[in-house]
Amino acid sequence: MRQTAEKLKLPHLGFLFLAGVLGWWIPGAGHWVIGQPKRAAIIFISLTFAFVLGIYIGSIAVIDLKTPWFWAQILYSPATVYIAHLSGSVYHLDSFGRPREIGEIYTAIAGMLNLLCVVNAVYMAHCINIKEQNE
Protein backbone atom coordinates (compact mmCIF):
# COMPACT_ATOMS: atom_id res chain seq x y z
CA MET A 1 0.00 0.00 0.00
CA ARG A 2 2.20 2.79 -1.25
CA GLN A 3 1.07 6.24 -0.25
CA THR A 4 2.19 9.42 -1.92
CA ALA A 5 1.54 13.11 -1.29
CA GLU A 6 -0.95 13.11 -4.17
CA LYS A 7 -2.89 10.07 -2.92
CA LEU A 8 -3.10 11.49 0.59
CA LYS A 9 -3.90 14.96 -0.79
CA LEU A 10 -1.01 16.42 1.17
CA PRO A 11 1.51 19.08 0.13
CA HIS A 12 5.06 17.86 -0.53
CA LEU A 13 6.39 19.02 2.85
CA GLY A 14 3.33 17.65 4.66
CA PHE A 15 4.02 14.17 3.28
CA LEU A 16 7.66 14.35 4.36
CA PHE A 17 6.53 15.52 7.80
CA LEU A 18 4.03 12.64 8.03
CA ALA A 19 6.71 10.07 7.13
CA GLY A 20 9.11 11.57 9.68
CA VAL A 21 6.63 11.84 12.54
CA LEU A 22 5.19 8.36 11.95
CA GLY A 23 8.73 6.94 11.83
CA TRP A 24 9.48 8.57 15.16
CA TRP A 25 6.23 7.48 16.87
CA ILE A 26 6.46 3.87 15.72
CA PRO A 27 9.89 2.74 14.44
CA GLY A 28 9.47 1.61 10.82
CA ALA A 29 6.08 3.29 10.30
CA GLY A 30 7.69 5.98 8.16
CA HIS A 31 8.87 3.33 5.71
CA TRP A 32 5.51 1.54 5.88
CA VAL A 33 3.59 4.66 4.82
CA ILE A 34 5.80 5.15 1.75
CA GLY A 35 5.23 1.55 0.64
CA GLN A 36 8.27 -0.25 2.06
CA PRO A 37 6.67 -2.85 4.36
CA LYS A 38 9.70 -5.19 4.42
CA ARG A 39 12.04 -2.41 5.52
CA ALA A 40 9.42 -1.26 8.02
CA ALA A 41 9.14 -4.75 9.56
CA ILE A 42 12.92 -5.22 9.78
CA ILE A 43 13.40 -1.79 11.37
CA PHE A 44 10.54 -2.27 13.83
CA ILE A 45 11.65 -5.74 14.94
CA SER A 46 15.37 -4.96 15.23
CA LEU A 47 15.01 -1.60 17.02
CA THR A 48 12.28 -2.83 19.35
CA PHE A 49 14.43 -5.86 20.19
CA ALA A 50 17.36 -3.57 21.13
CA PHE A 51 15.17 -1.20 23.15
CA VAL A 52 13.31 -3.96 25.04
CA LEU A 53 16.54 -5.87 25.71
CA GLY A 54 18.05 -2.64 27.09
CA ILE A 55 15.23 -2.06 29.55
CA TYR A 56 15.20 -5.77 30.45
CA ILE A 57 18.92 -5.69 31.29
CA GLY A 58 18.92 -2.42 33.24
CA SER A 59 15.21 -2.22 34.20
CA ILE A 60 13.01 0.71 33.17
CA ALA A 61 15.12 2.87 35.52
CA VAL A 62 17.60 3.31 32.65
CA ILE A 63 15.07 5.70 31.11
CA ASP A 64 15.82 8.67 33.31
CA LEU A 65 14.72 12.21 32.43
CA LYS A 66 17.67 13.69 34.32
CA THR A 67 20.46 12.04 32.32
CA PRO A 68 21.78 13.14 28.89
CA TRP A 69 21.09 9.58 27.66
CA PHE A 70 17.39 10.45 27.70
CA TRP A 71 17.82 12.71 24.65
CA ALA A 72 19.09 9.75 22.65
CA GLN A 73 16.51 7.35 24.13
CA ILE A 74 13.56 9.60 23.27
CA LEU A 75 14.48 9.32 19.58
CA TYR A 76 13.16 5.75 19.75
CA SER A 77 9.58 6.88 20.39
CA PRO A 78 7.63 9.44 22.46
CA ALA A 79 6.49 6.42 24.53
CA THR A 80 9.90 6.73 26.19
CA VAL A 81 8.54 9.74 28.13
CA TYR A 82 5.80 7.55 29.60
CA ILE A 83 8.38 4.89 30.59
CA ALA A 84 10.45 7.65 32.24
CA HIS A 85 7.32 8.79 34.11
CA LEU A 86 6.64 5.20 35.26
CA SER A 87 10.20 4.60 36.47
CA GLY A 88 10.64 8.00 38.13
CA SER A 89 7.25 9.06 39.47
CA VAL A 90 5.22 5.85 39.76
CA TYR A 91 7.66 3.08 40.77
CA HIS A 92 10.54 5.31 42.00
CA LEU A 93 13.11 2.92 40.56
CA ASP A 94 16.85 3.29 40.23
CA SER A 95 19.58 1.02 38.93
CA PHE A 96 23.34 1.21 39.16
CA GLY A 97 26.53 -0.24 37.79
CA ARG A 98 27.04 -2.40 34.76
CA PRO A 99 23.40 -3.38 34.05
CA ARG A 100 22.44 0.30 33.99
CA GLU A 101 25.31 1.22 31.66
CA ILE A 102 24.50 -1.61 29.26
CA GLY A 103 20.78 -0.80 29.38
CA GLU A 104 21.50 2.87 28.63
CA ILE A 105 23.75 1.97 25.73
CA TYR A 106 21.18 -0.42 24.22
CA THR A 107 18.24 1.99 24.53
CA ALA A 108 20.21 5.05 23.39
CA ILE A 109 21.60 3.24 20.34
CA ALA A 110 18.07 2.04 19.48
CA GLY A 111 17.00 5.69 19.60
CA MET A 112 19.87 6.93 17.45
CA LEU A 113 19.31 4.14 14.92
CA ASN A 114 15.67 5.22 14.74
CA LEU A 115 16.79 8.77 13.93
CA LEU A 116 18.81 7.31 11.05
CA CYS A 117 15.71 5.41 9.87
CA VAL A 118 13.49 8.52 10.16
CA VAL A 119 15.95 10.54 8.05
CA ASN A 120 16.02 7.72 5.49
CA ALA A 121 12.19 7.50 5.40
CA VAL A 122 11.91 11.27 4.82
CA TYR A 123 14.53 11.11 2.05
CA MET A 124 12.75 8.18 0.37
CA ALA A 125 9.41 10.05 0.62
CA HIS A 126 11.07 13.05 -1.03
CA CYS A 127 12.42 10.86 -3.85
CA ILE A 128 8.97 9.31 -4.39
CA ASN A 129 7.36 12.76 -4.62
CA ILE A 130 9.98 14.01 -7.08
CA LYS A 131 9.56 10.89 -9.21
CA GLU A 132 5.77 11.30 -9.21
CA GLN A 133 6.01 14.98 -10.18
CA ASN A 134 8.30 14.11 -13.09
CA GLU A 135 5.86 11.46 -14.30
Binding site: I43, S46, Y91, I109, C117
Partner: protein, 80 residues
Amino acid sequence: MMNCCLAGFLAPVYIGTTPAAFLLALPLIAVIAVAYKAIKLEKLEVITFVRESSILFGSIVAFMVLTAVIIYAVMKVIVG
Protein backbone atom coordinates in the same frame (compact mmCIF):
# COMPACT_ATOMS: atom_id res chain seq x y z
CA MET B 1 -2.26 -5.46 34.68
CA MET B 2 0.57 -2.93 34.38
CA ASN B 3 2.52 -4.69 37.14
CA CYS B 4 2.13 -8.01 35.37
CA CYS B 5 3.39 -6.58 32.05
CA LEU B 6 6.30 -4.77 33.66
CA ALA B 7 7.33 -7.55 36.06
CA GLY B 8 10.49 -8.46 34.16
CA PHE B 9 11.46 -4.84 33.66
CA LEU B 10 11.38 -3.48 37.20
CA ALA B 11 14.70 -4.90 38.43
CA PRO B 12 18.02 -5.05 36.59
CA VAL B 13 19.52 -8.44 35.74
CA TYR B 14 22.78 -9.55 37.33
CA ILE B 15 25.83 -9.15 35.09
CA GLY B 16 29.06 -10.46 36.53
CA THR B 17 32.51 -9.03 35.89
CA THR B 18 33.52 -11.90 33.65
CA PRO B 19 34.82 -12.09 30.07
CA ALA B 20 31.41 -13.55 29.13
CA ALA B 21 29.87 -10.11 29.78
CA PHE B 22 31.47 -8.96 26.52
CA LEU B 23 29.06 -11.27 24.68
CA LEU B 24 26.32 -8.74 25.47
CA ALA B 25 27.80 -6.61 22.70
CA LEU B 26 26.83 -9.18 20.07
CA PRO B 27 23.03 -8.60 19.99
CA LEU B 28 23.62 -4.84 19.73
CA ILE B 29 26.10 -5.28 16.88
CA ALA B 30 23.57 -7.55 15.14
CA VAL B 31 20.83 -4.92 15.50
CA ILE B 32 23.13 -2.18 14.14
CA ALA B 33 24.12 -4.35 11.16
CA VAL B 34 20.53 -5.35 10.35
CA ALA B 35 19.01 -1.86 10.76
CA TYR B 36 21.81 -0.23 8.77
CA LYS B 37 21.53 -2.69 5.90
CA ALA B 38 17.71 -2.39 5.93
CA ILE B 39 17.99 1.28 5.00
CA LYS B 40 21.16 1.07 2.92
CA LEU B 41 20.27 -1.67 0.41
CA GLU B 42 18.40 -0.46 -2.65
CA LYS B 43 16.52 -3.74 -3.15
CA LEU B 44 15.65 -5.93 -0.20
CA GLU B 45 16.14 -9.57 -1.19
CA VAL B 46 16.52 -12.19 1.50
CA ILE B 47 19.85 -13.69 0.36
CA THR B 48 21.51 -10.34 -0.34
CA PHE B 49 20.21 -8.86 2.89
CA VAL B 50 21.39 -11.77 5.04
CA ARG B 51 24.79 -11.85 3.31
CA GLU B 52 25.36 -8.09 3.60
CA SER B 53 24.21 -7.98 7.23
CA SER B 54 26.45 -10.93 8.12
CA ILE B 55 29.46 -9.28 6.45
CA LEU B 56 28.85 -6.03 8.34
CA PHE B 57 28.31 -7.93 11.62
CA GLY B 58 31.54 -9.91 11.08
CA SER B 59 33.56 -6.82 10.19
CA ILE B 60 32.37 -4.88 13.26
CA VAL B 61 33.21 -7.85 15.53
CA ALA B 62 36.59 -8.36 13.83
CA PHE B 63 37.58 -4.70 14.20
CA MET B 64 36.46 -4.64 17.85
CA VAL B 65 38.56 -7.74 18.56
CA LEU B 66 41.50 -6.19 16.70
CA THR B 67 41.14 -2.96 18.71
CA ALA B 68 41.01 -4.96 21.95
CA VAL B 69 44.15 -6.89 21.00
CA ILE B 70 46.02 -3.67 20.11
CA ILE B 71 44.97 -1.97 23.37
CA TYR B 72 45.96 -5.10 25.32
CA ALA B 73 49.37 -5.18 23.60
CA VAL B 74 49.97 -1.46 24.23
CA MET B 75 49.01 -1.86 27.89
CA LYS B 76 51.32 -4.88 28.21
CA VAL B 77 54.22 -2.84 26.81
CA ILE B 78 53.52 0.26 28.92
CA VAL B 79 52.37 -1.26 32.22
CA GLY B 80 54.01 -4.68 31.94
